[in-house]
């Protein structure tokens, strides 16, 4: 019923508009074209000025209103080492483009207003001006050069792969419709090899269990932990279609491509707790996390780093959420020690196990030697 009323109203408004427009058109034919031109130019020139003011004001006010949500502002400064380079590049670009945006908009609408049609005005015949043209080709070229140089410098640092001798920690993210499988290397610090042809319901990522490096690998079912200030290399791949490994607060984004492993190297610099404390300074994060539960925890208290998918992968694309928790090294070690080998808990002795019947030195009762010792842990 209301829908019908709304539709009726809209149609009515439309008819009224059309009738008014027809009448105005008729009146203008009586007034004569010159008079109509004069009025139309006066009105629209002034509307241009109003638009200019309202538009620029809107831009400033809205960006002020959302200042705490924006890239590199408020609490949302990057939480990774390379991320601050991205944020600062963003701000440098914002400065130059903002300047151009304001100047050109003022010029455009001000000139249109100032030089609005008048019967007695004569337009000037200016076809070109070589000096001006050289200047405004050269200035953007110089600014672009600056941006390119800084940008590429940052880019090549960000994308540089790890040096094999370097101290880093490697994990693997496998995208599939519609979740992420996250694999940790276990005590040996090395991810075991994979072959997609070995994939089964149980062996989700096609680990080749003839490879001893796979025996201690861990597939994390819940939150994934990462040690703070440690260089992390994520090996990224997809099983079915394209996905994208996206950690917004760390400024990490890389496609997951079936058949072609990609990587992203980053160093988290803020623990989850530190990030929460940042958020705590802002009033909007003191609102309840769950609006239905006003007494419950606040937004800042529930903050988590989230992994999202940023490449359309089908109808569940929007739901590939995982939590990453960044913690101090000791806390990480404690958590890591509790994780169990996927092979031993899920595969050993089953059909997927190529070592069925053989005795392996990791088999129980050698279970003790399996759980990571502080010595092996310090290696990772």
């Amino acid at each position: 019923m209301t829908a019908l009323l709304i539709i009726l109203c809209v149609i009515l408004v439309g008819i009224v508009l059309v009738q008014i427009a027809r009448i105005v058109e008729l009146i203008s034919q009586i007034k004569g074209e010159r008079e109509v031109m004069r009025e139309s130019s006066w009105w629209n020139a002034h509307l241009s000025l109003v638009f200019l003011v309202v538009f620029l004001a809107g831009v400033f006010l809205s960006s002020y209103y959302y200042r705490n949500e924006l890239l590199g502002y408020g609490p949302h400064k990057a939480a990774s080492a390379h991320g601050s380079d991205i944020d600062s590049m963003f701000n440098v670009t914002l400065f130059f483009t903002g300047l151009v945006f304001i100047i050109t908009h003022i010029a455009l609408f001000w000139f249109a207003y100032k030089y609005r049609w008048r019967e007695d005005r004569k337009a000037s015949f200016i076809a070109h001006d070589t000096r001006l043209e050289v200047i405004w080709t050269a200035v953007p070229a110089v600014v672009m050069t600056l941006l390119v140089v800084r940008g590429l410098d940052a880019w090549n640092t960000i994308m540089a792969d790890v040096d094999p001798n370097e101290d880093y920690f490697e994990i693997e993210a496998v995208g599939q419709q519609f979740n992420w499988i996250i694999r940790y290397p276990g005590p040996d610090g090395k991810l075991g090899s994979r072959d997609f042809r070995l994939t089964t319901a149980l062996n989700q990522v096609g680990q080749d269990f003839r490879d001893p490096k796979n025996w201690d690998d861990i597939i994390v079912a819940q939150e994934c932990y990462l040690p703070v200030n440690k260089k992390i290399r994520v090996r990224i791949i997809a099983k079915d279609v394209l996905h994208n490994f996206y950690l917004p607060q760390f400024r990490v984004k890389m496609d997951a491509v079936p058949g072609m492993p990609t990587y992203f190297v980053f160093t988290p610099t803020k623990t989850t707790a530190e990030y929460r404390n940042e958020l705590r300074k802002y009033p909007e994060y003191h609102k309840p996390y769950d609006p239905a539960d006003p007494q419950g925890p606040k937004r800042w208290e529930k903050f988590e780093y989230e992994l999202a998918c940023a490449e359309l992968c089908g109808k569940g694309h929007y739901s590939m959420r995982r939590i990453f928790r960044v913690v101090p090294q000791e806390e990480f070690d404690a958590w890591y020690r509790q994780q169990e080998s996927y092979y031993l808990t899920q595969i050993r002795g089953k059909e997927e196990d190529p070592n069925k019947g053989k005795v392996l030195d990791i088999d129980p009762p050698a279970k003790d030697t399996l759980s990571p010792t502080p010595a092996t842990l310090s290696k990772i």
Partner: protein, 622 residues
């Protein structure tokens, strides 16, 4: 509005006739084409016509149809994003099973169909509306009229161009009614999603029809493009050398060249995709396990498709915007009563943009897993494009400076175009810098960028062109009051829709999320903003309905054009009769003696191109 007083017009018309009689080019056209044997009945005149003016109008009206379809689709998915809790059961009569009604009687949009809507919206707006509807319409109507030709080089191929487009439209439209739904993998159709029917419902029959439609469309674009190029190169009237062509013609010419060079690459890309889908090849597929099934496809690369796609895809965005730029340059100059500033710079910058557009495609793939070293080159070339783009903007602004600016619907939309091109072009500088793109890629920031710089700006160019050339197309004016309501409403409304997306994008909200990011703590607090955008989108939609009403109403009832050259413009289309027939000029074709931008020169408000240079006068305002 006729600017020129009656007396002046009459003397001008007689002058024009006299000059054409004396100096014009006689091709004996009407001796060979007695009685218009090609246009003898309704069917041959209006439907299967080979007349470029009719074909142009066919492109326009089909484009308007698709624009409305695309806009309606966007309203449905905007409702989902702005009001995810809303009951959409009332859409069930139209959308059927794609609205799932739960036990409480609340209707929800199916996620699969949400993605189908987004996909088809993108495809039809980019290709059917802003390529066929914009370049198809205006290249057809204006090229012969402005270069002084009787018709296109091959009128028959030209009509094939429309009918291939029509077929493509039919196939795409029918795909909406498949039980598995139309294609739903995004307008870029990246494999493996688009290659594997197991991966998504829309990748079944919907994708097959999408590919067929696109292949037909590419044929249409190529037939059109070859024709435009040939016509501009071979059928210019006496005296119309390249440096005397209006910027519209330059723009259509360059656009056609880009299209002819890049569309075949897309065709090969989608054909290989077709092979992967139905013949068991693995161009784009390798090591895939989908739905528990291990595929025996090895050795292909999904990245290869992205290269092929964006090798067209990036030039395509310039195929869309260059015609709009040409139209805006012409409309601004005519209504500013002032030459376009820096004519040669305008042409050279278009050529530079066209050339560069072929070597920047991988800026869409910075995060796709290509070798990061390669990206260095693409960053450099991408940011170089900003220079010719800036030159164009400065030239438009300088054209307005010192003018006698006539505000009407056409010139307002041209002004609006410049504003939008600035706003959207500047955000391109963020995205073109790969380091910043790490964060912004595939977020709403990209959505804001390309809707402002391409979507809305190209529409504004199209509107400017329609309001300006409506008198030539239909012999009547559009209603100015409605036109101005349309302009101001759309100008404010379109910014209201797309500007805020910069903020959600900077906050990291990914694009193509069915729930707008509601399941993520980091993305979910833009509820009010999303509602605001949706409401603004609905208002903007109704403003476009006003335009459509104005358009069709004015075709039949608009104020009649009473003089040949109502805007006081210099170009040749305004020397044809008010309702030009087959062959455009009743007698000789006027000869051209000067560039088209002699406005307000030596005290004369305008000096049309057919007027010979006066003694001691130089061409080009030197």
């Amino acid at each position: 509005m006729a600017e020129v007083t009656k007396v002046a017009v009459e003397s001008l018309d007689t002058l024009e006739e006299k000059l054409t009689q004396e100096l014009g080019y006689d091709d004996h056209f009407h001796e060979h084409h007695h009685g218009d044997k090609y246009q003898s009945n309704f069917l041959t005149t209006y439907i299967f016509s080979t007349d470029h003016k009719i074909i142009g109008r066919q492109f326009l009206i089909t484009g308007i149809f698709w624009a409305l379809m695309g806009a309606l689709m966007s309203l449905v998915f905007r409702l989902q994003l702005g009001f995810p809790e809303a009951d959409l059961a009332w859409l069930k009569p139209i959308l059927g099973k794609w609205i799932q009604v739960n036990d409480a009687g609340i209707g929800k949009l199916d996620p699969e169909f949400y993605y189908a809507l987004v996909t088809i919206h993108g495809t039809v707006l980019v290709f059917f509306v802003l390529t066929a509807g914009l370049s198809g319409t205006f290249s057809n109507i204006l090229i012969p009229l402005q270069v002084g030709a009787r018709d296109m080089a091959s009128p028959l191929l030209n009509s094939f161009s429309y009918w291939f487009f029509f077929l493509a439209s039919v196939v795409m439209f029918l795909s909406l009614f498949l039980s598995t739904g139309p294609f739903s993998g995004g307008w870029t159709a990246y494999p493996p999603l688009s290659a594997l029917p197991q991966a998504s419902e829309g990748s079944g029959a919907g994708m097959t029809m999408w590919i067929v439609a696109m292949a037909l469309f590419i044929v249409s674009a190529l037939l059109g493009g070859i024709n435009y190029i040939t016509t501009v190169l071979n059928l210019r009237t006496k005296g119309m050398n390249l440096w005397r062509m209006p910027l519209t013609i330059w723009a259509f010419f360059i656009t056609a060249i880009i299209g002819v060079l890049s569309f075949p690459v897309l065709l090969s890309g989608v054909l290989l995709l077709m092979f992967d889908r139905s013949m068991g090849t693995s161009f784009y597929l390798s090591e895939i396990v989908v739905g528990g099934q291990i595929l025996d496809r090895i050795g292909g690369s999904p990245i290869l498709y992205q290269h092929l796609f964006w090798f067209l895809g990036h030039p395509e965005v310039y195929i869309i915007i260059l015609p709009a730029m040409g139209i805006v340059s012409e409309v601004l100059s005519v209504h500013a009563r002032k030459p376009i500033f820096g004519y040669r710079a305008m042409v050279l910058s278009m050529l530079a943009i066209a050339f560069l557009s072929f070597i920047v495609w991988a800026h869409h793939m910075f995060m796709a897993g290509v070798n990061p070293f390669i990206s260095n080159f693409f960053v450099v070339f991408t940011l170089i494009i900003a220079v010719p783009s800036a030159v164009k903007v400065f030239n438009w602004i300088s054209t307005v400076y010192g003018s006698n600016f006539r505000f009407n619907s056409a010139s307002l939309f041209a002004l609006g175009f410049v504003s939008l091109f600035i706003s959207g072009g500047l955000t391109g500088i963020f995205l073109g810098n790969s380091a910043i793109d790490v964060q912004l890629h595939d977020t709403y920031f990209v959505v804001a960028h390309f809707h402002i710089v391409m979507g809305v700006a190209a529409f504004f160019g199209m509107f400017a062109g329609i309001y300006h050339w409506f008198p030539k197309m239909f012999g009547r004016f559009m209603n100015e009051t409605l036109g101005k309501i349309h302009f101001w409403g759309t100008m404010i409304g379109a910014y209201a829709v797309f500007w805020p997306m910069h903020y959600t994008g900077m906050a990291g909200v990914p694009r193509r999320y069915y729930d707008g990011g509601a399941s993520f703590d980091a993305f979910r607090h833009f509820t009010e903003l999303n509602q605001f955008i949706t409401v603004a989108a609905i208002i903007v939609f109704f403003l476009q309905v006003i335009f459509v009403v104005n358009f069709f109403y004015s075709i039949f009832n608009g104020r009649k054009v009473t003089t040949k050259n109502p805007w006081g413009a210099n170009t040749l289309e305004w020397t044809t009769p008010i309702n030009p027939g087959h062959g455009n000029w009743p007698g000789k074709i006027p000869a051209v003696h000067r560039w088209p931008y002699d406005y307000s020169k030596n005290g004369e408000e305008f000096v049309p191109q057919y007027v010979p240079l006066r003694a001691g006068e130089h061409d080009h305002g030197h």
